[in-house]
């Protein structure tokens, strides 16, 4: 590895670490700013001694700096605190919900990629034709439809009217179809539009003309030459969208009563369960930083110029 590469990787890691620290600190401060949780737990009429005892139990009577370092130490050891409403470890609750969200995100993003990418490539290779206009219109629609409304419509059509699919809950692959479909719409449209733009830029590059002039077949020129060069922004969006969905697909999980992280977050917010909200935010920040690293690694695999 070259010295410049080491330096670049080093500074990238440092900046990711810095943003992680900022996100974690913000999550901590917001938790402390959202009011005295003992009032929420014990109710406004609880005697002061009882509240004082609870504050001591939760460690809220310690100096803020001490609390902050305890919090960071907890994160390092995988301890994200206790939920106020479930009297359970937040880490274990997140771990319980994660498989459901993972399932949903994997299915939704898989669908989004499998439809969005070919749609974008189709539009770009037939720029200005009827295909292009149709694909672009569909993508624009997909990006502007509210997830919540779309989910309801699918439920009304496929669960209530036709009775083909369950309206909510989880368990079988059949239960996954409607939520995954609902979840895929926005990223699918986003991916299609981005693929269209990135591909038509790549197709206009001189090396594409040169590849054609060397007699290479159309499919090879489009995929091996143009798509490979257009891929990086698409990969980035796919990975980052995955991150966003992983840390809480709230609307979809709500509509389908899907027992994932989004639903947990919703419950946490409704009951002002500040340690749980904080834990979910911390988890989201960790996922996001991790996925950013994934993007960097993918980038260096795809493009020799950034190695």
């Amino acid at each position: 590895m070259k010295a410049s590469t080491v330096r670049r990787v080093g500074s990238r890691l440092a900046s990711l670490f810095a943003s992680l620290l900022i996100a974690l600190s913000l999550a901590f401060l917001l938790g402390r700013l959202s009011g005295d949780p003992t009032a929420t737990i014990l109710g406004p009429l609880a005697p002061p001694e009882q509240r004082e005892a609870l504050r001591h139990e939760l460690g809220l009577d310690l100096p803020l700096v001490v609390q902050y370092f305890d919090y960071l130490r907890g994160i390092l050891t995988g301890d994200l605190g206790q939920s106020l409403q479930f009297y359970q470890s937040n880490t274990s609750m997140i771990a319980d919900r994660l498989p459901y969200t993972l399932q949903l995100v994997a299915a939704g993003m898989g669908l989004a990629v499998c439809v969005g990418v070919p749609l974008g490539v189709l539009a770009a290779t037939r720029e200005g034709t009827w295909w292009d206009r149709a694909a672009s219109t569909v993508a624009l629609l997909g990006q502007s439809v509210p997830v919540f409304w779309f989910g309801m419509m699918l439920v009304v059509l496929f669960a209530v009217k036709l009775g083909w699919l369950p309206a909510g809950q989880s368990g079988t692959p059949k239960h996954l179809i409607l939520p995954a479909l609902t979840m895929s719409v926005y990223p699918m449209a986003h991916i299609a539009r981005l693929t269209r733009a990135s591909m038509s830029e790549a197709l206009a590059e001189p090396y594409i003309d040169s590849a054609r002039a060397r007699g290479l077949g159309n499919r090879r020129v489009v995929w091996r030459h143009a798509f490979a060069n257009a891929m990086m922004p698409i990969l980035t969006i796919v990975v980052l969208q995955t991150g966003i969905l992983l840390s809480g697909a709230v609307a979809v999980e709500y509509v389908y009563s899907w027992p994932g992280l989004g639903q947990l977050a919703l419950q946490a917010i409704q009951f002002r369960d500040f340690p749980l909200v904080q834990a979910i935010v911390v988890f989201g920040a960790l996922v996001f930083v991790l996925l950013n690293l994934v993007v960097d690694v993918l980038h260096s695999i795809v493009d020799p110029r950034v190695r």
Partner: protein, 263 residues
């Protein structure tokens, strides 16, 4: 020697919102084996359109209206006829102006050469791909061909990239090579080297070369014959020496007068 490429009364039009625009009008051109023909003209005179027409890479709104292009006796381009996919990359190689951008930045030189060889040479073995890749880079007078084979384009100098681009066009041993302003982006020393390289290629391999340039001096150094274009028409054609020494047309005289050291 036999005629390799023949353009006969070629007329090409572009369809625009405001109506049709003629890009080439009644263009005749002939190249024989072992011959270098220069196509010279100011910017917008239709040189690139002519070059791209021969390999069937015209823009989507452009089509052939009259005339034909024949390659070794077979019609490859005519109104409503496009058989260029049979010759593109195999019988005809093309080198474009901007070499740094005519190589795929994500692929090693070796992979790009192998891709072209596999496409055009049936059942070629791995060893044969390597042998011919090294051979063509040596023909390009590249000092350490195996290092260049393992490089990505961004790891090479501009001159090397240009020679790799030429290697990609000739590795399939085409009978005709078209070079469209392929030396314009290079500094004078590298330009001289590349031009010298073309001369040797033509002499060693007996190919025909269509050399497009706006540089009349360069054309006079390299070419056997020169075709002067203006506004999509051929205004003068003949032996390089006679076009330069006794230009018949005002336009050519003006092109010549634009060169400081001439007259």
């Amino acid at each position: 020697m036999s005629v390799l490429l023949k353009a006969d009364g070629l007329a090409v039009t572009a369809r625009l919102a405001g109506g049709d625009l003629r890009l080439l009008d009644d263009v005749d051109l002939e190249i024989r084996r072992g011959q270098i023909v220069g196509v010279v003209g100011e910017s917008g005179s239709g040189k690139t359109t002519l070059a791209r027409c021969v390999v069937g890479l015209l823009d989507r709104n452009v089509r052939v209206e009259h005339g034909s292009v024949t390659l070794a006796g077979d019609v490859v381009v005519a109104p409503g006829v496009d058989r260029t996919d049979r010759v593109r990359g195999s019988a005809v190689g093309m080198v474009f102006q901007d070499a740094s951008r005519s190589l795929n930045p994500l692929m090693r030189v070796r992979t790009q050469l192998a891709e072209v060889l596999r496409r055009h040479v049936r059942d070629i073995t791995r060893a044969e791909v390597r042998r011919r890749s090294l051979e063509v880079l040596e023909q390009m007078r590249i000092a350490d061909p195996s290092r260049v084979l393992d490089s990505y384009p961004h790891q090479l100098s501009g001159g090397l990239r240009q020679r790799v681009a030429i290697a990609l066009a000739v590795v399939t041993r085409p009978a005709l090579v078209i070079a469209d302003e392929c030396t314009t982006a290079l500094d004078v020393t590298t330009q001289t080297k590349v031009v010298g390289l073309f001369r040797t290629l033509v002499d060693e391999l007996g190919i025909g070369l269509l050399f497009v340039t706006h540089d009349l001096m360069l054309a006079s150094d390299l070419c056997d014959r020169i075709t002067v274009m203006s506004g999509g028409r051929v205004v003068e054609a003949g032996d390089a020496a006679s076009v330069l020494d006794r230009p018949q047309q005002d336009y050519t005289r003006r092109l010549l007068a634009a060169i400081p050291s001439w007259t």
